[in-house]
Symmetry: C2
Subunit: 560 residues, 2 copies
Amino acid sequence: MSDYVEGKSRWWGWGDLDQRFDAENRANIMPFLRENLGMEFDRDRFTDPTLDEIELPAPRIGDDIMGTLRRISGPENVSTDKFQRVSHCMGKSYRDTLRLRMRRIERPVDVVLWPREEKEIVEILRLAEEKNLAVIPFGGGSSVTGGVEPMAEDKAGFISLDMARFNRVLRVEATSQTAVIQAGALGPEIEEQLNEQGYTLGHFPESFDHSALGGWLATRASGRQSTGYGDIGDMVLALRMVTPRGVIDTRRVPATSAGPSILQLCVGSEGVMGIITEATMKIRPYPDVFDYRGLIFRNFAAGVSAIREMLQQGMVPTCVRLSDRTETALAQAFRSTTGNKWKRRAEDTALKLLASRGYSFDDGAFMVLGLEGEREEVEYLRSGILRLCRKLGGFHLGTSPGKQWYRSRHETAYFREQLINWGVLVDTIETATTWDNLLHLYGEVRSALRSALEEETGRSMVGCHVSHSYREGSSLYYTFFAPMAAEGKEEEQWDRVKRAASEAIMEYGGTISHHHGVGYEHAPWMREEVGDISLQALKAVKEVMDPEDVMNPGKLLPAN
Amino acid sequence: MSDYVEGKSRWWGWGDLDQRFDAENRANIMPFLRENLGMEFDRDRFTDPTLDEIELPAPRIGDDIMGTLRRISGPENVSTDKFQRVSHCMGKSYRDTLRLRMRRIERPVDVVLWPREEKEIVEILRLAEEKNLAVIPFGGGSSVTGGVEPMAEDKAGFISLDMARFNRVLRVEATSQTAVIQAGALGPEIEEQLNEQGYTLGHFPESFDHSALGGWLATRASGRQSTGYGDIGDMVLALRMVTPRGVIDTRRVPATSAGPSILQLCVGSEGVMGIITEATMKIRPYPDVFDYRGLIFRNFAAGVSAIREMLQQGMVPTCVRLSDRTETALAQAFRSTTGNKWKRRAEDTALKLLASRGYSFDDGAFMVLGLEGEREEVEYLRSGILRLCRKLGGFHLGTSPGKQWYRSRHETAYFREQLINWGVLVDTIETATTWDNLLHLYGEVRSALRSALEEETGRSMVGCHVSHSYREGSSLYYTFFAPMAAEGKEEEQWDRVKRAASEAIMEYGGTISHHHGVGYEHAPWMREEVGDISLQALKAVKEVMDPEDVMNPGKLLPAN
């Protein structure tokens, strides 16, 4: 019925209960954190909450409306069950997981619905208009910007509209390499159905397991392989979006000059204008080869130049990630220390050899290079890219570190769960800019983060990587850590850090988000991001499609 | 002062007076046309008009407003001169050139302005709001959809705002491979300034010599090399647009997830919301190699498969064009018959050899394949593409036909001028669809065109080519010919043909325009193209940015 299953899902945080951070096999990570954050890690600040500990007011939606909802979607697809309501009322941001650990739900949803067909959605929106209800589209619930949380104060109730039943690949058009996919399909559901027919979508965000096509489109997301496969906005050919005042169904054509792009007006609309129900997506043949490798550069700037050069010379890898000094050191400390001890000794020897040539995991910049495709094409590209990297000072570490990254790429989300319980503020922010401004912006945002993080305890750790690159520029993705502020001050501390970073991003030429979207966390920056007249235009579009403000109120567009 | 110069520009048609169709050196074209259209071509139906023959009402704008305009932009940049008014009141569509040959101007502009700075434009728009004037942005004036013609009936006067003075490349950012370019810069002005610094924009529409960046962006244009370099909407990173209610200045970032795309809302806005003044464009290193070749396929379908395969295998040429049977035969008849007679005899021998292997220019499909870039990259790509084409039945004709196409690619526009004077209805329409639908749509639109064209005389010629291709589909570009209807019925005839083709395009899954834009000619199809709710949304955006309907009224958005 849903991705969220009681007893299986970590509703207060990330992922499934049977997956957790494995500290025992990572002997280096605790000393590294102790040294950098000055914390002892000798007690848990938070424990995982239980449902019984959460106070939830009764649903505000009366029997008559409940009856209508049951008639529309079938009684089995309407729930006011506590587990469902709790697991649908927040996303997965630091603020969200913090509040749930504090056993605090400020704005609950009243009912969760799982519609089966588009015409049910049309009826639900009509009912919502009549009864002054708000409808929040819900895909995988992985928003880190508050995208699925009830926000408006003038509504008679909140419906979380879970798209889980819209989970099919309806049609694969092999000749055009496109597929019509329902918007509620989660990452694994999409790939499984496409892979069966020999294709891939190529969209693999960190949230892959617990996020859906509709959410990707609504937040203009990017996957980790976006350098090669493109951002979600590049991958979509056409879509259907149900608004309270009609259905948008953009023409299934590869390009058009018939006016402003309606398609790109729906992409990024974050559920405030309507609900995306299906999309025609560009698909690719399933790759023959997955070639992931590691390289190390003496410093971040050298690695940045290498990425820029490869893209501008037309050698576009599927994935290229470059960690700065702090993140490289953190990743090294995070590596598993179990397994074959001879292998580890060999690695130690290799590290010494590297050190003698001026490369270090304490002070260098680690790059993951991923190539996917046909064997011949991958080989041609690999030889060109490695030649270029060598020329620019990169040292090729072979496939082992690349494979290791690929295997463990979903583990950091579980690490975060543990860190928060230990009392560590841990979060990420991301932006993008052009190459000419990249290192400048990198430094300014890093400084702003460090100053704000160190205000309480003087300690912080700020790592960054470049991961979604273009011919003209790239994203910057920061992961930052600090000891949490005193009890009761945690959200205030985070607000201050977020504000400092956002101000630096706006001042030094970034964008408020490269791929996390806006939600309510970034909405205060939208006026500066797009300008007043554009904001008014977006509000006017909302007014046409959703004049009663039924759709996800309080998100994307700042109130004034 | 302007691209239009009295005594130099063919204001009633295309291009410069010193360039014309060269019939003498093309011995085969007249017999070909006679046979196919059943016309004798023994008299001119129209002669080129002179300015004296054009009746133009006095400008409707009074002295006070003229005085203010002169103060804003300087007296030398304000004109009510007959030549300027006449050359700014229509574009270059068949309907436009027909009416001018009939000495008919139905809707004149009252004054032409050449602002020098953005702040003048702000003032002009404010004045226009106060005085109920309409402002029509003018770049190169090459619109074929009525984009620059005055259309509203409730306005006190029409200003043609010629952006010719905004013709500079303001800044080249080599690190990011971007350039900030003013919107009035014409194709040759842009390339000249970029080439000097080692770059190219890569946008080469047929109108290249007489169209400007702002017009390309406002109509979502595509150049002939768009398969490699992208459509104009892919080439733009950021832009500035002055609206009557404020300036839009999108952030100069390579990607963002901060909401719906404001950038792609401005691209394609056709001057109805504001005037684009400058844009940050993606640029490329000037190619080392221009490798243009010809191939012939036994039929259109085989050539279409070859294009689809090369793109889907990731072998993306800079330019690939495939002509159907009729267009291939026409192009063959159009070839120059002068020059070295031994060369021509050798060609005749080659044609006989080809015929013996089943390839014919009377019955085959001619392909131009263009590769631009670094030598090594071009060679790698060429060998892969030619291998693929051979496998799919293509015959490689070498560089000579490719070069010939490249050299003569701007000549057909002059041919049209001659044909209209001879009394031939000649026009083009274009659309796009996905590969799975391409041949079906091709046939349906072709049939619709033929039926409509043959209604009067039973004769027509309809050729088509595929020219802007994507992994998922391609454009279809039709050129069609018929004897003109009886005197006084010419526009009616054209209306009928246009309507028949447009209906077929919409019914069989195309888009009303792939790269010509909407103007007023395609506006009646916009409701079907984008749907009612999207159309209302676009109107709401216009209402925010231009509540007094100052900006290019009557274009893009149908009245009801």
